[in-house]
């Protein structure tokens, strides 16, 4: 290789270094953010209440850093509303030079809601969000029910997929949304997803008039008077 060739090789090497450094600094310098939280149960009903528990919230992450938070509980019991055991919540997130992400998971075993109205051997909520050169997206892969049963409706044997946001009426009680998914972000530079595996909405009819001939209530509006959530996980990213 003659001197002229070496000259161009060195120039190319130097250019490559500069381009690499600029690209790296640009990626690191962008205002990326990640967030996440997970909890196994939440009860807010006339029968009793319990805060989001056990709750794991992702600490602030900045620079090229990462973090993890977890919480666990042996058992949860709100008489008449919810009982469960082996409760675990985990969330983690990271910001790297090329990508940022967050992932959360929560679980509860031996789930019994409203004195056996809804039961499951286990519920797992699992979400992840990621943003990088290919855009931003979130997914709920890994979320599942094990042996879910709803009195008067039916049951699922083993691990069975449930269509997102499946709404099932619970006469005299309200309704339940299974695999409730609440997305956020623009899908380009930001994305987020909350999954509530079991979300019971308790409802009462307010303002109706009793028809003395039929004994039925006419009119009125349904008002939500309480809610129960089992298996909630949230992740979000933005760049």
């Amino acid at each position: 290789m003659n001197g002229k060739s070496m000259h161009w090789v060195n120039r190319l090497a130097a250019l490559g270094l500069v381009v690499g450094l600029v690209a790296g600094l640009a990626a690191v310098g962008s205002a990326q953010s990640v967030g996440g939280q997970a909890y196994s149960t939440y009860v807010n009903t006339p029968l009793g209440s319990s805060a989001q528990s056990p709750l794991a919230v992702l600490p602030a992450v900045s620079g090229t850093d990462g973090a993890e938070a977890d919480a666990e509980g042996d058992a949860m019991n709100v008489a008449g509303a919810l009982s469960s055991d082996f409760l675990n919540s985990i969330t983690s997130g990271e910001i790297g030079a090329a990508e940022a992400g967050a992932q959360s998971t929560s679980s509860a075993a031996s789930v019994n809601i409203l004195n056996g109205l809804i039961t499951a051997d286990e519920v797992v909520a699992n979400v992840m969000s990621s943003v990088g050169q290919s855009g931003a997206f979130s997914a709920a892969d890994g979320s599942t029910f094990t042996n879910l049963a709803i009195a008067g409706v039916g049951s699922l044997s083993g691990d069975s997929p449930v269509t997102p946001n499946m709404n099932i009426s619970l006469p005299g009680v309200g309704y339940v949304v299974l695999n409730e998914q609440i997305p956020s972000g623009d899908g380009v530079s930001s994305s987020g997803l909350t999954v509530n595996m079991i979300h019971v909405y308790l409802q009462n009819l307010v303002g109706g008039i009793l028809n003395p001939l039929t004994g039925q209530i006419i009119g009125g509006t349904l008002q939500t008077t309480g809610e129960i959530i089992v298996g909630s996980a949230t992740s979000r990213v933005a760049s």
Partner: protein
Amino acid sequence: MMREHRSLIVWPSVIAAGLLAAACTDQPKVSMAPNRPNFWVTPPPAECVTGKWTGGGRIDPTGNRAASNYDNVDEPAGGQPAAPDPTPYMTGKVTFGFNVFLGQDANGNCIVKKGEIEVNGHALKIAWHVSIHDGVDAFDGRPVFANEFSDGHPGGVCVVVGVPDNYMTAREKGKGATEPSELTQFEVCDNDRGGRQNTRSDAMRWRSEHHGDTGMTYLKGGNVVEHGS
């Protein structure tokens, strides 16, 4: 002269990087712990790295190597032993989350400078937790050594936390816990670096002194990310 000057600027950094890489392949002086389990053999020495790893999700190990979610490609990477080691296979749902930062101790050994690892074995109803602060396992006061290496996937890389002979001590909780703590090892592989992160090609393995080995298993959901040094 100018050309030579530029060469002097560029090439010393390349040589320095080479020397650093060579230095980092030295064998670490891992201490021989008195309570080393006799069922785990010592894999090759750790490599020197300064990586940051974070992730979490769920695996469903079955103990069946023919199952589509068994990562036969990555399991032997880095000299890791074939599962189950120890026996039996740990099966059922396993969820986890972690964040570990790697570094070097005064002797150049690869250690976990700080980290949190949570693993939940749902069939066993055991929740394991490892906390590492300032290079020391919070439960036994010993350093936690690590190893990072390329795996069987193009561009893939794995990290093993708790290499022999120390392994690492995890606290056990939950109805299925049989002792307050035990020796464990955690391994994850990031096989979709730089690409879309839902390829389901990332994998995780958890080895427990008293409760078995999941084997290397592809994630059902979640993500494993090696995010730089």
